[in-house]
């Protein structure tokens, strides 16, 4: 059974005049690293919200089909019940930090769920250690940079011990350096068996780690598969998705009749492929 199952799911926000999600069918298995991308307003955030029940429990609207997460139908379970299954990290870091220091922030989720005190303390220390937050321990969110805030927000979500981490453009408000730190962290979590759903525009940073890319447009899924397969489709340019530079070069070369063996995702891969061709 897949961890997340969208079955012919459609959703329209109350007061909106078009569907935000249109007959979405999507299965995500445990351990996958799914990158979700598509033009602005195509429904990526709505899809993330549907995974932990914010849609339809928090955001009301018209709904068809079902979303089943770890065997639970999101129509029948409230967001708090789904919190230990799907952990969401959002775009604006400062709106996710609701307490006055890092320890409290990380403890907030488990406290809400009624986890035992000793266990909360253990998780807090573990996450502070893992995400390198020691120097921020006593700080007010206002005294931290955006990147630091987002790391704390991530720790606060991971403290719920979710089965899947859903991150909705966690790096869009950050400088490139902090963005890379956050994305590396996510890739690392996936290597430790965490299922990840990541919304991201900077595909050149994430496609090498992803196991799957899902492309959305106007509320529907228009492509879904291996990163190399999806990113080399012409569809990407048509709907305006920024594919990695190396993949772009691959496509240009192909247009001029110059075929490489494999679709490259990074500069390093491209270099190796070109070298191979030259040696032949």
């Amino acid at each position: 059974m897949p961890l997340i199952e969208f079955a012919d799911f459609s959703f329209k926000y109350l007061g909106a005049d078009s569907l935000a999600l249109r007959k979405v069918d999507l299965n995500i298995e445990e351990g996958e690293y799914v990158v979700l991308t598509g033009p602005s307003g195509c429904g990526k955030t709505t899809l993330c919200r549907a995974i932990n029940g914010l849609v339809p429990q928090f955001h009301r609207g018209y709904i068809a089909g079902n979303v089943i997460v770890d065997g639970k139908n999101t129509r029948e379970h409230n967001v708090a019940e789904l919190a230990p299954i799907a952990g969401l990290v959002f775009q604006q870091p400062e709106n996710q930090l609701v307490t006055l220091n890092v320890e409290r922030e990380i403890a907030f989720g488990p406290e809400n769920l009624g986890v035992e005190r000793k266990e909360i303390r253990r998780r807090v220390e573990e996450l502070i250690d893992m995400l390198d937050l020691e120097h921020l321990r006593e700080k007010h969110p206002h005294e931290m940079s955006g990147g630091e805030q987002q790391r704390v927000a991530m720790a606060a979500t991971l403290a719920l011990k979710p089965k899947v981490l859903v991150a909705d453009e966690p790096t869009s408000n950050l400088d490139p350096q902090s963005a890379v730190t956050i994305l590396d962290l996510i890739a690392d979590l996936n290597r430790r068996d965490m299922t990840v759903v990541l919304v991201e525009h900077r595909l050149d940073l994430v496609s090498k780690d992803a196991s799957r890319v899902v492309l959305m447009d106007k509320g529907s899924i228009v492509a879904d598969g291996e990163p190399r397969e999806v990113l080399s489709m012409d569809l990407c340019q048509e709907i305006g998705v920024g594919i990695p530079k190396a993949t772009q070069i691959y496509k240009r070369l192909k247009q001029r009749g110059f075929n490489l063996d494999k679709v490259p995702l990074t500069g390093a891969e491209l270099a190796t492929l070109v070298q191979e061709v030259k040696q032949r």
């Binding site: 914010l54 952990g87 959002f90 604006q92 005190r117 909360i120 206002h142």
Partner: protein, 256 residues
């Protein structure tokens, strides 16, 4: 507004900071009540002699004296007006005592607010049976005040860039100028509140009745000691006030 600093938490490593907030609250209330029971210069000075060492033990004397200096102009005004308008036989002496009492009251409560972290305060409220939601709302207000301030400045800059003249014109015009600041600020805040609520729900806020707390406040021996001493002082002072007439040297007044 520098005198408000005495009501603002400052991180220090002191005996007073380590006390349980509930014990400190009790101590502050007792100190304030005692100050309210006297309106003569000598007893109020004696109360001061107890308050200053407590502030000292909280390592906050400098902050306290700076705030008091900030407050001094206001205090002098109070003394002058009271002296001129009072019908008491020794108006100056009376207003001096009034002012001393005001300062003593402020100092008593500042012992509490200077040394209790907002988190501790909300935890103390929760353990005094205040509902978690209310206590948490209070600490969230503290959390978002700086953010809101920042946003207000950003909006002001944006409006200035569009040609709104915020600091020109007469009083009425200036008051009307607040509208283009307040309206966007409210809209932005509502939007932010929704996004915060979303994030809190996602972390199980309001999940079940049995919420746990990582840091639980515990009454220790020293907290019991503080409470006991405060209680004894309170009983003693009330007893003296009701049954024992104050000796005349304590009721001494300035001749004017």
């Amino acid at each position: 507004m520098s005198f408000l600093e005495v009501f603002q938490y400052t991180r220090q490593d002191s005996v007073i900071h380590k006390l349980d907030p509930r014990a400190k609250l009790f101590m502050s209330i007792v100190l304030a009540v005692v100050a309210l029971m006297f309106l003569a210069i000598i007893p109020l000075l004696i109360i001061f002699c107890c308050l200053v060492p407590i502030i000292g033990a909280a390592k906050s004397l400098r902050r306290w004296s700076r705030s008091m200096r900030g407050l001094s102009i206001l205090l002098i005004f109070i003394i002058i007006f009271n002296t001129l308008l009072s019908t008491q036989p020794n108006p100056f002496s009376h207003s001096l005592a009034l002012t001393l009492r005001l300062v003593a009251l402020m100092t008593s409560f500042s012992v509490f607010f200077l040394t209790v972290h907002p988190d501790e305060l909300s935890q103390a409220l929760i353990q005094m049976r205040v509902r978690f939601e209310f206590a948490f709302a209070m600490s969230m207000a503290m959390r978002y005040v700086p953010t809101l301030g920042q946003e207000a400045y950003a909006i002001m800059d944006a409006q200035k860039a569009r040609g709104v003249e915020l600091d020109k014109g007469n009083l009425l015009k200036r008051i009307r100028n607040i509208v283009p600041i307040i309206v966007p600020l409210i809209i932005v805040s509502i939007r932010r509140a929704l996004s915060i609520a979303e994030s809190m729900e996602s972390r199980g806020f309001g999940a079940n009745a049995t919420r746990t707390y990582m840091n639980v406040l515990k009454f220790r021996k020293r907290d019991w000691a503080v409470v006991t001493v405060s209680l004894l002082v309170l009983v003693f002072v009330v007893y003296v006030r009701i049954f024992v007439p104050l000796p005349t040297w304590m009721l001494w007044q300035l001749p004017i």
